[in-house]
Amino acid sequence: MIEIKNIYKSFEHKSVLKNISKVFNQGETNLIIGRSGSGKTVLLKSIVGLHKIDKGQILYDQRDFTSMGQKLRKSLRQEMGMVFQGGALFDSLTVEENVRFPLDMFSNLSSIQKQKQVDYCLERVNIVNANKLSPSEISGGMKKRVAIARAIVLNPKYLFCDEPNSGLDPETSLVIDALIRSITIDLQITTIINTHDMNSVMEIGDNILFISEGEMCWEGNRKDILHSDNQKLQEFVFANKQYQKIRDDKMNE
């Protein structure tokens, strides 16, 4: 479980996050949603410690990340996996070497055990016959799946995904969503996903935080969204006519 309490963050006097608090549950896909520029990525990067917050607290299973020393922070980070928007695979390494990298860096497993773990993770994300290819030789969807494999190779307790479906076609997006959800449930990890993809919200939104202009606007789950009367949420979700129709159909039922 990850808990954030009263988080504030600003860049050069421009306030980006204002008083955000939320509990992200273990074994659930927790979503942070909002328009582009609403502060989603800053919030996610603040939670993982890539941005230093101005005020507030971040607790990983009651361990205070904000007041931790460098050494403890480093060891906690080995319990995290992150999938970046563009995949962030290392260009100089092959697919297999990318997934193996955290193992080489932090585990004391034998070479055979490492290979087994790499094969298991690549199989888990349905990557076959691409082990020796470089990131530039694979598609966007495959890059995301390799990034997921790399993120889970050390059996993390916390998984973070920044816009995992950006730039992907709807079908591949569904595959990625299903994959993240199944990994979350099977490994019982705390997953936080940043997205503005409404399909993802409706498919895997167990616990949703909606932020607008850096402020926490609404929280709930995918079922609550359709019945919410929050004006800003309504404008965000039902900007798409398809979802307006779904809402109207639900209302008429």
């Binding site: 410690g49 480093k74 980070r77 992150m82 970046f84 260009d91 990298f101 080489d104 932090f106």
Partner: protein, 245 residues
């Protein structure tokens, strides 16, 4: 103020770079890769430039020696000392700042803007140390070797061009390069090479590591890295020449 700020950030980055590595074996592997990428792959360009410059310097010394009282051996001596003292260390340093320096800045800068560095940090890896330390070690180790190669190829260049165009005969040239040889000149230049190697790798890495934005910004950072490294090389050349020659 901006220079002070940049200098402070540069030293803060160096502090991060020279912290204890997470896994020595991976750092070693990375260092050998960098020796290959930054050092071995520069041998060709160093050889080509040095052969031509050795030849050109031999011709220029010969054409400026109009007095019949001056012995022809001075042509070889002039070429040798120019190569040992300035060309193969300083001028080669400036050229390497362009080749190796821009390579380092663009590689690290691209990793920064595509979030690969963030990805390392999330894993708990000291990204500055993992990416920059092997490059510094590789360039500092390889630059003195490239210097020695450059002196050798420069002398060979003079030996080929000088006699070929009739500016000097082989015997006079060889006598010249052996005349009054002062080994301290080589020691002095090797010290310069260590300093220049460190500057090329660390300054270029700093500009790459601190880049913000996209491809355009990576390009600008590469240009700034090369310009700043060149200025620093010249400043340190002056300081070291005054202090230890």
């Amino acid at each position: 103020m901006d220079i002070l700020n940049q200098t402070g950030r540069y030293f803060a980055l160096l502090l991060k770079v020279f912290s204890k590595p997470e896994r020595h074996s991976l750092y070693m592997r990375q260092t050998f890769n960098e020796i290959e990428n930054l050092g071995i792959q520069s041998v060709g360009i160093v050889a080509i430039i040095s052969i031509f410059m050795g030849g050109i310097m031999t011709l220029q010394v010969a054409y400026n020696m109009t007095s019949p009282l001056l012995p022809k051996t001075l042509i070889g001596l002039g070429n040798r000392d120019s190569l040992i003292l300035e060309f193969s260390s300083t001028i080669m340093g400036l050229i390497m700042a362009g080749k190796i320096g821009s390579n380092i800045t663009s590689e690290i800068g691209s990793m920064k803007v595509t979030e690969q560095i963030d990805s390392l940090e999330i894993m708990g890896v000291n990204s500055a140390s993992y990416l920059i330390l092997p490059k510094i070690v590789a360039v500092v180790l390889m630059f003195p070797l490239l210097y020695i190669l450059s002196v050798f190829f420069g002398i060979v260049g003079g030996l080929i061009v000088g006699p070929a165009v009739g500016a000097v005969n082989i015997t006079d040239y060889i006598n010249g390069i052996q005349y009054e040889f002062n080994p301290y000149y080589v020691t002095f230049s090797l010290i310069k090479c260590l300093v220049f190697g460190f500057l090329i790798a660390s300054v270029s890495a700093f500009f790459g590591y601190t880049v913000e934005g996209g491809a355009f910004d990576v390009g600008s950072a590469s240009t700034r890295a090369v310009v700043n490294t060149n200025i620093l090389i010249l400043v340190w050349d002056l300081i070291l020449t005054q202090l230890i020659l």
